[in-house]
Symmetry: C2
């Protein structure tokens, strides 16, 4: 157990096995038939020395890349983390490593810095998480020389970029229509800092309202923190005409509900509140949260699939879009159940 043992390279293995360097390479990449006896010797040497191929050198010569990169505006929020998890799982199954690069903001220097960091590595392709403005900016600025796919909540896909999507627009519309169907005159909306006007959730909400001829209240903007939902919830609680609130995500919904309750408004009797994402714990809230279930893990897996295809050279810019499903629980109720 020498402490600072030099890490073995191909020539060490070749020497140990008594063969030439290319033969070892051929055994390891199984690129050409090698006599069983030699193969045996090589494999033994590989195991004895604990040799691991240096994929940097490999990439340099062969151009075969063994890493995919994820470019994203954030990592630890629920949706981001789950999507990254899905990507990592799919990549690992395919024998690829995953490298994470965070785009600090949507400013040009930040975007370029992240892109530089990623492209300086030998990546086979890049998945950009288009959940927020930094992600959006990264998609726009990304050079066409490297295979890229988008994963996000958008609907429209202008160019020829393959995309794995969650149909947030439809989901937002469904959610809003559901609340309207309960008899609410309109639905207020607290947005999370996603892509601004381009957020599918917000778009769907607005289109449902206008389609139903309902008034469109101004959009309230929260951060990702539940506390900011709480703050906005305090304001909403004071407005008597607010009877239904569609929130940009579960954390914010929790904040809003908490504020409403603190102000003495009952949920769902006085005000119905919906979340978005269906984090595991919101089913246990009191009231349990009506929300929209998004399968982020699947999103990540689909994105990786598309990237694999793009790397293989499939030019047919296929895309996949999945519609999240409503999960009806107890934070929503018919308008006027307050009287009952």
């Amino acid at each position: 157990m020498e402490a600072k043992n030099r890490v073995p390279v191909l020539s060490d293995v070749a020497k140990a096995a008594g063969v030439s360097v290319p033969t070892v390479s051929r055994v390891l990449t199984s690129s050409k038939y090698v006599a069983p006896e030699l193969r045996e010797r090589v494999m033994k040497a590989v195991n004895d020395l604990e040799y691991r191929p240096n994929s940097a050198a490999r990439a340099t010569r062969s151009g075969k890349r063994s890493m995919v990169a994820v470019l994203t505006g954030a990592t630890s929020n629920y949706g981001y983390a789950k999507t990254i998890e899905g990507i990592e799982l799919a990549a690992r199954k395919a024998g690829l490593s995953v490298i994470i690069a965070v785009v600090e903001s949507d400013s040009e220097p930040a975007v370029n810095a992240a892109i530089d960091l990623v492209l300086s590595q030998p990546v086979a392709g890049v998945i950009i998480l288009e959940f927020d403005r930094p992600g959006l900016a990264a998609v726009k600025a990304f050079p066409s020389s490297v295979p890229m796919v988008v994963a996000g909540g958008g609907t429209r896909r202008s160019g020829s970029t393959p995309s794995a999507l969650l149909d947030e627009r439809s989901a937002g519309r469904d959610a809003t229509e559901y609340l309207l169907s309960l008899g609410h005159k309109t639905v207020h909306h607290v947005a999370v800092p996603t892509m601004g006007k381009h957020s599918g959730r917000t778009q769907g909400w607005k289109s449902a309202l206008t389609a139903a001829g309902a008034p469109v209240p101004p959009v309230l903007h929260a951060t990702w923190e539940p506390a900011s939902g709480y703050k906005l919830g305090l304001d909403l609680a004071d407005q008597d005409d607010v009877t239904a609130i569609f929130c940009g995500n579960d954390d914010v919904a929790i904040g809003v509900i908490s504020a409403l309750l603190d102000r003495g408004r009952r949920v769902p009797e006085d005000v119905s509140v919906m979340g978005f994402d269906d984090q595991p714990h919101v089913a246990l809230w009191r009231p349990s949260l009506t929300t929209v279930r998004q399968d982020f893990g699947d999103l990540g897996a689909r994105a990786f699939q598309l990237l694999s295809a793009a790397v293989e050279g499939a030019d047919g810019s296929s895309s996949s879009i999945v519609k999240p499903e409503l999960v009806l629980r107890n934070s929503t109720a018919a308008a006027g159940s307050s009287a009952a």
Copy 2:
């Protein structure tokens, strides 16, 4: 805007700038003085061509690695995600990329597969998240030829491995002592699937109980899911002697509380419940959750700092340990407040 433009290499830049290849390299790495005029020309060519150094080739020749790897048993749970976020931020500031590798289980093939995946890339060093059994197994199996540091919740650090730690043991003890100080005869414990008997939280809990001469109830084992906490909570609700419960994390605590409430036991009047982690939303629970705040982002930053030092060759296996702080809220109360 050619679509499939070959990505430029150093010799392209050299040609465009009318200098030799090594000169370009010297400019980019600022390894040797280059005349201002030449430097100028080179930089212009670099910008014009949008050249980005190929860090695989760079690593091959110079041995300078520009990636750190994170080896972990999971990625999307709160603590994991926040720690990874902290590592990424620190690494990005230092100009390094982060590669993530998940260790599927603590079985030997899974551990080796993850280690192989990581070590085949040109990583400067590795941070292993020792929050669970796969992480623990990875630490044990990791070869000494590559700089490595451990980040986790352990206390003991046998060998000479630098470690960034959260003192879960002390925190668990503090939490338990706090509950005992409220007059509870003993404290029940619902553990999350961390390192089994080696979990600092569980160790601290047990040591506080034995130190106080209180009976040590059997440990209940939950998964990471709130639903599993709920399940165990139903059982606990039926035992009248259960008046205080220390949970392995916030999600489980929420499940337990939910079950207690569903069974008609009041929190905190009948039963006090504590969580662990202080996720942002638990402050908004009703009752708001008493818990232990862990600064995972800081943990990640500290781990990266130690790794940097280790890579630089600092052999003094320094470690850093931070004690999480109790956050007292409303899910805990004095024993017997039920009567009041």
